[in-house]
Amino acid sequence: MKLFADLLDRLVLTSSRNAKLKLLADYFASVPDPDRGLALAAITGDLDIPSFKPAMLRALVMERMDPVLFAYSYDYVGDLAETVSLVWPAREGRVLHNADPSLSEAVAALIEAGRANGPSVFAALLDRLDAPSRFALIKLVTGGLRIGVSARRAKQALADFGQIEVAEIEELWHGIAPPYEALFAWLEKRGEKPVPQAQALFRPVMLSNPVQDGDLEKLDPADYRAEWKWDGIRVQATSEGGVHRLYSRTGDDISGAFPDLLEAMDFSGAIDGELLVGVAGQHTGTFSDLQQRLNRKAVSAKMREKFPVFVRCYDLLQDGHDDLRPLPFLERRSRLEAFVARLPAVRFDLSPFVDFSGWEELDDRRRRPPHPVIEGVMLKRRDSAYVPGRPKGPWFKWKRDPHTVDAVLMYAQRGHGKRSSFYSDYTFGVWTGPEEKPELVPVGKAYFGFTDEELRQIDKFVRDNTVERFGPVRSVRAERGHGLVLEVAFEGLNRSTRHKSGVAMRFPRISRLRWDKPAAEADRLETLQALLDG
């Protein structure tokens, strides 16, 4: 349990992506089965373990210590699980190394205990653990590890560990179960690749590269077809043997949030497409509308009616028993056209092709898309097979240029890792209120887009212009006559009730420092609002 607890504690405090991957891969390499598999499941959210309510936890600790001392402790720490893990009266040092129960032993004991004996078995386990391990176990049974590692990241670490492509893990993932012993055996080259034991599995997604300067000159427009790039979320709708699944592009099963779509998936195959709000073939809603449907556990009938979803189909990966992925794109496309024609027309439509004869013509169309929910064009080689990952060459995305706004720096926060000694996370605002007496309202946060040299310059500005400090955050001078103007580029805007400004930016980044521009001339909130309504 100690190693698992150590891993969690390090992951929580580590911000670098590579360092997290290294911590995970090292853990998989050093911990035996079945513990590593259970740890993996705990991180990806696939671990089945009896759950306990916070009240039970509190009751257990109250049997063991003075309530006043507990109250002082809880008040100081602020987190129930952590408080209990620290005050639990088992003397540090008395926990012998060989007495440390393994993760699998702990999980098995809790499962076997059942409802009635659960609390006493749990308490006996806590007695045998050190403080970090108690914390880990408590977090496991009360739900919510919250360690800043997505399932996707964990799969990437597995791929690093086994030196394979992450797509191979994703493809298997929904067909295997904890503790994944066969998976680890395969990754360690000790065994065969596991054969998934389920239907309607995820197929790793093919991604595109952005068009960069000079890319297109080398390509023949006649080799490519173009289609609009829609601003929804990329999904895979898969049905097989009566099992329907909707996956995100990273292989997370998001079926639960879209029962309305699932009902309409009465087919046998796997479609790659864009999930959008609206009615297929009639109305396409904005990303802001789509957000109403995302990350929800339950969806009310009202929600479904107000924000219906549909799939705009890009590609067909599986048609009945035929795996179409090795076929050329145009061949798959004609299979797709026939396939979609048989599906409910309000839930599925085809992503139309954009005709063009040369790159200039396409560039022109890209800049003036016929619909606001289009964020650019996709280029696909006519003969491209469907291969997982992001191969260079067959597919490109050519996005509409980003929006920009001139905003004023308001707050700066210290960064992490390499940047921990710099103020590198910036909150910026635009003007609002009466013209003669405007105020700044925050509209976003950005922590990249600038060069190292620019970072040093902003950092110096922050230190020289600090008004107040709150922990790692500083507020900086931001007045009409004095302030730093940042040109911020962003992909789009969402309506937001959580932000005072009423808008939330998507993918904001600093595109230029406008030392030359007086703060008073930064943009006003109305400029952003116009974008929202347009």
């Binding site: 405090l13 001392l69 100081y76 540090e92 890792g417 390499k418 921990s420 000694s421």
Partner: protein
């Protein structure tokens, strides 16, 4: 005679009226008895300072030779009369030279512990429990949540991280008196023999520890002239925590920021400070040590100072020991 006639809190610090002296005063006074060299306990500008030889020497290093009008060296265990009050110094196990001060008159005896810890520390003498009527205890970590793990385990985590991330500088924040030298010494005890780089603020005190027979192994200043950024890759650099948030820290390649402190037990504290590798190493007693020490001294009354007084007072109440907080001000535990 009541105990409070022998020692009582005053705005300047703990005062002994019959002996006319203060213990660890926070403002300049005529006669000061000082438990240890941390800045919040040992201040410059008193008339006469009585302390252990090491504490006097540490004060001279930090404040210059003229830190007090005159000095009086206290030898451990030796009973000395100060204006008719019997005074003696006893090891406190906190940092090099740290002592508890026992004050007795008319058959009454009070021990002021200053800061103390109970576990073994290779850089200073271990704490000795002294029987007394009143025990004055610190309470820096006076909450049941503070239970420091084994030192060796924390050092092992640092070395494990160094093995995992050999391309990254491991920056260890440690206060310059006591903690820094202890971290270095513990690393040596764990078999780490490579050069350890230190911030300028640590140099004099590390040299002093060396001169007192505490071997710290090869040390070098963490300056850029020592070979540029790459030179510190995979190395351990020790510096005072205040330096970490500043430009000094930028000279290191993709550092793992570690912090050796008892506060690191609380995850939120580590998070707030941007610490990636918290090392729970304290020069103060944890909760279990505090309550064990109260029992060991056999004191019938406990006075609690600087820290989280209320929990310790509550514990005494449950265990039938008279206890009260002293509400002394001005102690900010530099040492942890």
């Amino acid at each position: 005679m009541r105990p409070s006639d022998l020692l009582q809190p005053r705005p300047q610090g703990l005062y002994c009226p019959p002996g006319d002296f203060f213990i660890d005063p926070v403002k300049p006074v005529g006669r000061a008895l000082i438990t240890h060299g941390h800045a919040d306990h040992a201040r410059a500008g008193h008339g006469t300072v009585m302390a252990t030889r090491e504490t006097l020497e540490i004060m001279a290093i930090r404040y210059g030779e003229g830190f007090a009008g005159s000095r009086q060296e206290a030898r451990l265990g030796e009973r000395v009369a100060v204006n008719g009050v019997e005074v003696s110094f006893h090891p406190a196990g906190h940092v090099l030279g740290s002592a508890q001060i026992r004050v007795a008159q008319g058959g009454r005896c009070i021990v002021a512990s200053g800061d103390y810890k109970r576990r073994r520390d290779p850089t200073c003498l271990g704490f000795e429990p002294i029987a007394c009527d009143v025990f004055i205890t610190e309470a820096t970590f006076g909450l049941p949540v503070f239970r420091h793990p084994d030192d060796a385990g924390e050092i092992a985590r640092l070395l494990a991280s160094l093995g995992q991330f050999p391309e990254r500088t491991h920056l260890v924040g440690a206060y310059s008196l006591g903690k820094a030298q202890r971290v270095i010494r513990l690393l040596r005890d764990a078999g780490y023999a490579e050069t350890i780089y230190i911030h300028g603020a640590l140099e004099k005190l590390c040299a002093y520890y060396e001169s007192q027979g505490i071997a710290l192994g090869p040390l070098a200043p963490a300056t850029i002239d020592n070979g540029g950024k790459a030179a510190f890759a995979g190395k351990i650099v020790v510096g005072p925590p205040s330096a970490f948030a500043d430009r000094w820290a930028r000279r290191f390649s993709d550092p793992v920021s570690a912090f050796a402190s008892g506060w690191m037990r609380i995850r939120q504290r580590a998070k707030q400070r941007g610490v990636e590798l918290p090392l729970i190493l304290s020069d103060h007693s944890d909760w279990d040590e505090l309550v064990a020490t109260i029992a060991d001294t056999g004191a019938s009354e406990v006075w609690v100072t600087h820290g989280r007084e209320e929990a310790l007072v509550r514990w005494c109440e449950i265990n039938g020991i008279a206890a009260r907080p002293l509400h002394l001000v001005g102690y900010e535990d530099e040492g942890d």
